[in-house]
């Protein structure tokens, strides 16, 4: 009798302990580590197939005027001082005033830039820079290999004019691609970013230059490195309510990680890890970690807090179809050369 009771109690204890062991880790998973608990307080609605709903227009427009790299004087400060913020606000007010100018003043100089009111404008932000890691908010040093490449590229341009062939222009000005980061870093216009989700996929549309990044969520592998592209190959998965995207298979020595894809070109070995977390109904925490040991001596991270703007007009950016500038730059350079030749001949 006593033996039976004891055995039952032991069985029950075992059941109790194993139940606890099964359920406790689930709690640990669902909430996040205490330090992040504040950020993860908002739970986005779920789509009918169970994925967190990140859909909407998340343009980077607000972040125009936030520098990519932090002023060295700011050190590890991630927010501007009240005085610096006041300066940003004052600048925004001056810009808004300038935008009201409906005509060109008589004494204005001729220029090639569009009038100010064509441009999108940011909202004064408190963050000191888009780069948040390394902690000083500055892009890490280039590797020796990358420095060498840059020097060689500069050398190759010696003795050549600026408009000898289309390849003299950037990939952006050739209307090929700005690359993944170049498609989202805030610039003077067309900062549209839109998320559309289907069962098993997330798609991200970038307004300029009409890119669509399709991210399978089924755990399938990247293709072999024999298939490379400007926008790379993306694969995603959920970590709680955060969409984690890993992109590889990039073409190397093409785009950089700067505005419009400028800056030092990254290598084909770059691994880009992006995280999208909806932190409020109208706020998205976006981070991108650039890991390219061939180009930078350490990985580095950009952070952009994006605001939902359902009214943002995402236009068709038919870049190549309207690239009259390419024809004109080449023709103009040839005309200049012909004129110079004629002048030389005339002098003889």
């Amino acid at each position: 009798m006593r033996q039976r009771v004891l055995t039952s109690l032991m069985v029950l204890t075992a059941v109790l302990v194993s139940t606890l062991m099964v359920t406790v880790p689930v709690i640990g998973q669902a909430g996040q580590a205490p330090a992040k608990a504040k950020k993860a307080a908002y739970t986005p609605p779920k789509l009918p197939w169970g994925d967190p709903d990140l859909q909407g227009l998340w343009p980077g427009t607000d972040l125009i005027e936030v520098p990519m790299q932090r002023d060295a004087k700011a050190g590890e400060r991630t927010e501007v001082t009240p005085e610096e913020f006041a300066q940003r606000q004052a600048k925004a007010e001056r810009t808004a005033e300038n935008d009201k100018v409906a005509y060109v003043a008589k004494d204005s100089k001729v220029g090639i830039n569009p009038p100010g009111y064509w441009l999108e404008h940011g909202r004064p932000q408190k963050i000191t820079s888009l780069v948040v890691d390394p902690p000083n908010g500055r892009i890490p040093d280039l590797t020796d290999q990358a420095k060498q490449k840059a020097a060689q590229a500069k050398q190759a341009k010696q003795g050549h004019g600026p408009n000898e062939s289309p390849e003299d222009q950037s990939l952006y000005d050739r209307c090929i691609s700005r690359g993944v980061m170049g498609s989202i870093l805030p610039v003077i216009y067309n900062n549209g970013t839109q998320i559309v989700q289907g069962p098993g996929y997330v798609a991200i549309r970038y307004e300029m230059i009409h890119e669509t990044k399709i991210i399978p969520l089924d755990g399938s592998p990247h293709p072999s490195s024999n298939i490379k592209s400007y926008m790379g190959d993306a694969r995603g998965h959920w970590e709680g309510n955060t969409l984690v995207i890993e992109t590889t298979n990039f073409l190397g020595d093409k785009n950089g990680i700067g505005l419009n894809g400028g800056g030092t070109p990254h290598s084909a070995d770059m691994v880009l890890t992006e995280k999208w977390t909806r932190t409020a109904p109208d706020m998205m925490e976006y981070t991108a970690t650039i890991n390219d040991p061939k180009t930078w001596v350490q990985p580095w991270t950009i952070r952009m807090p994006l605001r939902l703007n359902p009214e943002f007009p995402l236009y068709e950016y038919a870049c190549h179809e309207g690239n009259y500038a390419m024809f004109n730059m080449l023709k103009g350079a040839r005309a200049d050369e012909a004129a110079a030749e004629a002048a030389k001949a005339g002098k003889k």
Binding site: L9, L12, T23, W49, G50, R205, Y315, K331
Partner: protein, 281 residues
């Protein structure tokens, strides 16, 4: 005996109570059930709201991009490519095989054809517009959400978002047009306006103006075949509306995806070659 039973049942009750309080609540991401739904939705023909599920990678097989009307095989524009560049025979995809051009418009089609391939916007890597994007020899992917429907075409990274909400008016003209969609039973009907009249229908130079109004119908015939129709209405070019119809096939590879075809680089020589410092030709 009774005592141990009571003890047993109390303890069992305690275990049940404890495990209930420890069980994840509603706010947390559900585990197995959502995955099963996602898998079922991805494979099956219906979205959770009951609508046909058109998600996937689709592609047309046939020669419509060469010529949407019946055509015999013919030499291609470049003898250097031999049979690789030749034009295969094709059965037309135009209902009645007739495109009802007005006389002046037919002349323009002939001029287009004579100027091809150099003047074909496809050769220049310009976005193909609707309906040509549908039957290019490149796949496209449909991402159908619980709201709008995105179509991403591999060719030139062309794409368009079909607005499934309250119809919006086209702003300015674009290459891929402004698309408003709705369901008629199991048929997705897409109304396309705001096309800029600069894309062609095919390599044979068939064309419409910027006044064209295209209405597409997508209806899944089976898991792997979708019937596509596009009614073309442009009174400035044609004497009456006419219709294209063709099947679309689901790409069946396990790893089916659209790849990248940013063809601008391949078209730069064609477009800018003669303006280079070292011109080609």
């Amino acid at each position: 005996m009774r005592k141990s039973l009571t003890l047993f049942s109390t303890a069992a009750a305690a275990v049940v109570c404890i495990s209930l309080t420890l069980t994840p609540g509603k706010a947390q991401a559900p585990a197995a059930p959502a995955k099963a739904v996602a898998k079922a939705v991805a494979k099956g023909p219906r979205m959770p709201d009951g609508r046909p599920n058109l998600n996937g990678v689709w592609e047309y097989i046939g020669t419509a991009n060469w010529d949407i009307q019946d055509h015999s095989p013919a030499p291609g524009p470049m003898w250097q490519l031999g049979a690789i560049g030749a034009i295969p025979a094709g059965q037309g995809v135009v209902e009645g095989n007739e495109i009802p051009y007005k006389p002046a418009a037919l002349e323009k089609k002939k001029q287009n054809k004579a100027s091809a391939p150099a003047e074909d916007p496809e050769a220049k890597c310009y976005m193909p517009g609707i309906p040509r994007a549908t039957y290019m020899p490149f796949p496209f992917q449909i991402i159908q959400s619980n709201k709008d429907i995105l179509m991403a075409y591999e060719y030139a990274s062309a794409n368009r978002l079909i607005n499934m909400g309250k119809p919006i008016e086209a702003g300015s003209d674009t290459w891929m047009g402004t698309s408003n969609g709705h369901w008629e039973g199991d048929t997705l009907v897409v109304d396309v306006t705001g096309l800029n009249g600069l894309a062609w229908f095919d390599r044979a130079g068939n064309w419409a103006s910027d006044k064209v109004h295209v209405v597409e119908r997508y209806k899944r015939r089976s898991n792997d075949v979708m019937d596509y129709e596009a009614t073309i209405d442009d009174p400035s070019v044609f004497t009456r509306p006419w219709k294209i119809s063709l099947p679309l096939y689901k790409r069946a590879e396990k790893n089916a995806q659209i790849l990248e075809f940013k063809c601008v680089e391949f078209a730069e020589e064609l477009l800018y070659g003669k303006y280079k410092k070292q011109p080609t030709k």
